[in-house]
Amino acid sequence: MRTIPNIPDPDAFYEALLDAHAGLQAAESHALNARLVLLLANQIGDQGVLLSCLETARDTATQRRNDP
């Protein structure tokens, strides 16, 4: 799993990501995110990387919740 910077224009990507959600209700945004995860997963196409990403995403959340 690559965690060094690899997005060519991070600010423009982030803006586009937020714009994609503009005007949506919470449920619609969740659905968009779900579709997006699946689309991105298919771009990655590497089982090991996908599982590492899932693990990292889940562990990061757990770790933050346990912070004092």
Partner: protein
């Protein structure tokens, strides 16, 4: 110079003089009149004076700053510092101000990201110096007076302007009454509420943001690192954002994000400001409030930065939120951009069409600055729950994963615009060169002096190569050009191959990069860069 006293800042007061027009002894017409003695207007006046061009500056006030307020711009970027070096005030800014390069982005106690802007910096000037805006204006006034070419008219307020075919007529009010002033060229540097712009009926498109902030400029005795810290979520500000950095006289700028519906009067009440500071600094730190003021972010942009004989620079032309210090610094670059072009036109070394490139170059720069600051504003003030959720995800991941740190957007620091699309640029040049030092002289130093000259740096193919002397013919033909041959080592520093010529504009932007150059190529690039083609 006295600076900060216990009662606040002691600012200079400049003497109002009765204008000669009111005694019937003025000139019929002046080549250049600048409206507004703020950062942009004074930089332009000083730049023109340094190039040998006289101007009249009209200002409604008789001091620097805005009635003693220490707020306004405090971060001066490398490009501005390079300009101030050429104008002869950099050493005063350096001595008075606070040089910094390290910034941190924090959430609570956690530093999510640390950056050092000095890494990779090759300029003779540092990435940033923090100093109160009125000091910069003060140094500019001193320097303008020293150069002795500029007529600074204090307590001269422009109330009206009209244009005819070949000039403009200003109506100016003074304590002794009103008078008219005719000018070939007028530069409006009178800020976001410009009277000149209104008088000409020119629109400016904009919006007032919902996000509210409150500045507290404060002095205290507590050892804190000289770094720019930005809390995305500060526990001492109800988990809203806070900025903290140091400027001259040991004054810290604390800028607190407020709730959108905050009453600005209440937020800036001294007791309320003191309570916020107490939460931030802890119970035992003594502090003095120097200045407190609430504000909202504002965006404004004119459709065209030129209208006939009138140019608009700085906030008169464009306003954006303060993220990344892109406001004052871009006004300074507007001034530099226009100064060398006006100089060449007034000296008869370039056609008037060169002046069209001011809007062609500086408006796209403003558009970009507005877009960049808007992104930062959106990161710091998420508009919806989903935007806030993404921000939290970025901060969670940023602790361990470098890629996410690049998504933390608390402001992208001001960098010069790349004039790739400019009509003056040959090929894909247009980027600003840092103020590199070659031998014992900086690039800016080589370009100092009367007029506005280009600099051709040439890297000879070998010891026999006559490229440098060939280019000197161009100087004899009357082109505003200095020629400098660089050694092999310097060529490497500049990324130049043997036989290559870099044509550098008076503002250190690259007009052309010409591999395997000859005089004709340089002549063509010069013609383009001076608005002849």
């Amino acid at each position: 110079m006295t600076g900060l006293s216990p009662t606040g800042y002691d600012l200079p007061v400049y003497e109002y003089m009765r204008p000669p027009e009111l005694s019937g002894s003025g000139r019929d017409r002046y080549p250049v009149v600048i409206v507004g003695a703020g950062l942009a207007g004074l930089t332009l006046a000083c730049d023109l004076a340094s190039r040998g061009i006289a101007a009249i500056v009209l200002d409604e006030d008789d001091t620097v700053g805005v009635r003693g307020a220490s707020s306004r711009g405090i971060c001066y970027a490398q490009k501005s510092l390079e300009i101030f070096d050429r104008l002869g005030i950099y050493h005063r800014i350096r001595d008075k101000g606070v040089t910094w390069s390290v910034g941190k982005v924090l959430r609570g106690q956690d530093a999510l990201y640390r950056f050092d802007l000095a890494e990779g910096s090759r300029s003779a000037q540092p990435p940033f110096i923090n100093i109160q805006q009125f000091y910069v204006e003060w140094f500019l006034v001193d320097r303008i007076r020293e150069l002795g070419r500029t007529d600074l008219r204090w307590k001269n307020r422009v109330t009206d302007i009209r244009q005819d075919g070949d000039g403009a007529v200003l109506t100016v009010e003074t304590p002794d009454g009103a008078y008219s002033l005719e000018a070939d060229w007028v530069i409006d540097a009178s800020g976001h509420a410009s009277r000149v712009r209104q008088s000409l009926g020119l629109p400016t498109r904009g919006e007032l943001g919902e996000d509210r902030w409150c500045i507290s400029d404060v002095r205290f005795h507590k050892d804190l690192p000289v770094e720019r810290w930005t809390w995305v979520e500060a526990p001492f500000n109800e988990n809203r954002a806070v900025w903290q950095h140091l400027m001259a006289d040991g004054v810290w700028r604390m800028d607190y994000q407020m709730l959108p519906n905050t009453d600005p009067t209440e937020a800036s009440r001294p007791e309320v400001a003191a309570a916020r500071l107490r939460d931030q600094l802890g119970p035992d730190v003594e502090f003095d409030l120097v200045w407190v003021g609430a504000y909202a972010y504002r965006t404004q942009l004119m459709d065209d930065f030129r209208h006939g004989k009138v140019f608009f620079i700085g906030d008169a032309a464009h306003v954006k939120s303060p993220f990344g210090a892109r406001g004052g610094n871009s006004g300074i670059q507007d001034a530099e951009n226009l100064a060398w072009k006006l100089t060449l036109v007034l000296n008869g070394q370039a056609p008037e069409t060169l002046l069209d490139s001011y809007n062609a170059e500086r408006r796209p720069a403003a558009v970009q600055n507005i877009a960049v600051t808007r992104r930062s504003g959106r990161f710091l003030a998420p508009r919806t729950e989903i935007e806030r959720m993404f921000r939290t995800a970025v901060m969670d991941l940023a602790v361990d994963h470098p890629f996410a740190r690049l998504l933390l957007n608390t402001g992208r620091m001001c960098v010069p615009y790349h004039y790739a699309q400019s009509p003056l640029t040959t090929g894909d040049a247009g980027q600003a060169l840092p103020n590199l030092t070659l031998g014992s002289r900086s690039l800016g130093g080589m370009l100092r002096g009367d007029g506005a000259g280009f600099l051709a740096l040439c890297c000879p193919r070998d010891g026999e190569d006559g490229l440098g002397s060939t280019l000197l013919h161009l100087t004899r033909e009357g082109w505003p050009l200095h020629v400098q041959t660089v050694g092999a080592d310097e060529g490497l520093t500049l990324g130049m191959a043997p036989g290559e010529v870099l044509l550098i504009r008076p503002d250190l932007h690259l007009a052309a990069r010409l591999p395997d150059a000859d005089a004709e190529q340089v002549r063509r690039a010069l013609a383009r860069a001076t608005g002849r083609t």
